[in-house]
Symmetry: C2
Subunit: 246 residues, 2 copies
DNA sequence: TCATCATACTGGTCTGACCACGATCAGACC
DNA sequence: GGTCTGATCGTGGTCAGACCAGTATGATGA
């Protein structure tokens, strides 16, 4: 029974995947190129079409390729947003990881704000300013306020003009939306949070405008620390105080 | 004609993928669990087995699940090595992404070193010290030196005791190894790199020992900046100079 | 009690078919 | 001649049923 073999050691899926990987890494398959049809690929490699589809689907979730219904399979420009899927799965395992994820968010944003100081352009400034204004307008609304808060922070990362940081931030943000919302609930508990929210964000904005990375980083970092402090006090039911540890 | 079912709008692959994603994100499917067989899954969701296999394969390349031949499909603890696949593809066509990823690495490590100052224990200190010693021993070797360098930086992240930061850092590691290796080649070009490598890492280590987050962050950040400067000078063919912009 | 073997699983794969729709080109119409 | 229309072909999307090769398990025999 000379089943298949001989052609190469890999079996089925691996064969197809390796075949495509080779072309993709070598550059003979570039973004925009259309692959040959699944049927051709199947006969070419001596496997069945379902196997070919497994390989194509694998490349799809890796963001390497896009399967277009009734059109064909085309090579896409690698998009970092694939990481989103992975991180969602990877980080959603434990709920107690929220604090930990927050640390990663701080890491990303503090680096982003530094880069933003160097790279931000007029459009970035305007976006930040709009987000800042929005925070002021929605200071008393929980949902809208939370979104405005997040938009500002996202604007910082966007202003860094780093795709990697942007994607990582977006991935982590999904897990932290609750954090943002609960933060806004502090507004009711602690009136001083209002000035904290406005002043902090404004100071960060000003530091970026001044293109002062050190100050921007420090201010943003302090902003996070104070937010933590507020949440901590909310947990223990402390009364309002303006100061908070840094 | 009850073609597709009205139970859900998604079709085929999406249906299965969404079904499994739900369980995985909700936590009803935890690492170590064995999924029901492909056949059961197929009948349960009203799709064919090849479709189920597409979904399982997708989860496999995402590192969420492992298909064991003739055993079954089990949920794995998310493994970052998947991201290496992605980055390998991405970089094959997009070499300029390296700088961008480097920014993410700086972000992660600088935050990690701050946390390490707070959380590092004796074991972490010892690991850092061993890594530091290794850097000194392998200062003249390209490969071993690069590994020692990377090990030190990884030890910092490990000392942060942040799973998320560790995961992110490890995921970027695939790319960073190249960066690390090429960095070591600078040792030949610039003798002063030796002292730079030793002194910088030692200073970082000392800052962590002193549990001084600000100094640790600043030192590490400067370390990266000087490394960049060396690489820049290597590109333009500059001669050796000890000082570098910070 | 223990070793052996039949059986019922599992994943891995193939075959051949159908559907719905986009693309294409020939033919009809203006 | 040029444009519009429609049939055909190709594409992905899916299905059903089958076979293989091992694993795991339980029944059977020693």
């Amino acid at each position: 029974m000379e089943l298949k073999r001989a052609t190469d050691g890999e079996k089925g899926f691996e064969k197809v995947f390796a075949f495509l990987r080779e072309r993709l890494l070598a550059g003979s398959l570039k973004p925009g190129d259309r692959l040959i049809s699944e049927r051709e690929l199947a006969t070419l490699l001596g496997v069945s079409r379902p196997i070919v589809r497994e390989a194509l689907r694998a490349l799809t979730v890796l963001g390497i390729v896009e399967i277009r219904d009734r059109i064909g399979t085309v090579v896409t420009r690698p998009d970092v947003s694939v990481l989103n899927d992975f991180f969602t799965f990877a980080l959603a395992q434990h709920a107690d990881m929220l604090d930990d994820v927050m640390q990663a968010r701080v890491a990303i944003e503090c680096q982003a704000v530094r880069l933003a100081c160097e790279r931000a352009n007029i459009a970035d400034f305007e976006r930040l300013q709009r987000a800042l204004a929005k925070i002021g307008e929605t200071i008393d609304e929980a949902d809208a306020g939370g979104m405005a808060d997040f938009d500002f922070h996202r604007a910082i990362v966007v202003a860094s003009h780093s795709e990697t940081l942007t994607v990582l931030h977006a991935s982590l943000a999904g897990l932290l939306t609750h954090s943002h919302r609960s933060r806004r609930e502090l507004v009711q508990a602690f009136p001083s949070v209002k000035t904290y929210l406005m002043d902090d964000h404004r100071r960060i904005f000003e530091a970026v405008i001044a293109r002062d990375p050190e100050r921007a980083d420090a201010t943003l970092r302090k902003h996070f620390a104070i937010g933590d402090e507020y949440r901590r006090r909310a947990v223990v039911g402390d009364i309002d105080k303006t100061s908070a540890s840094g």
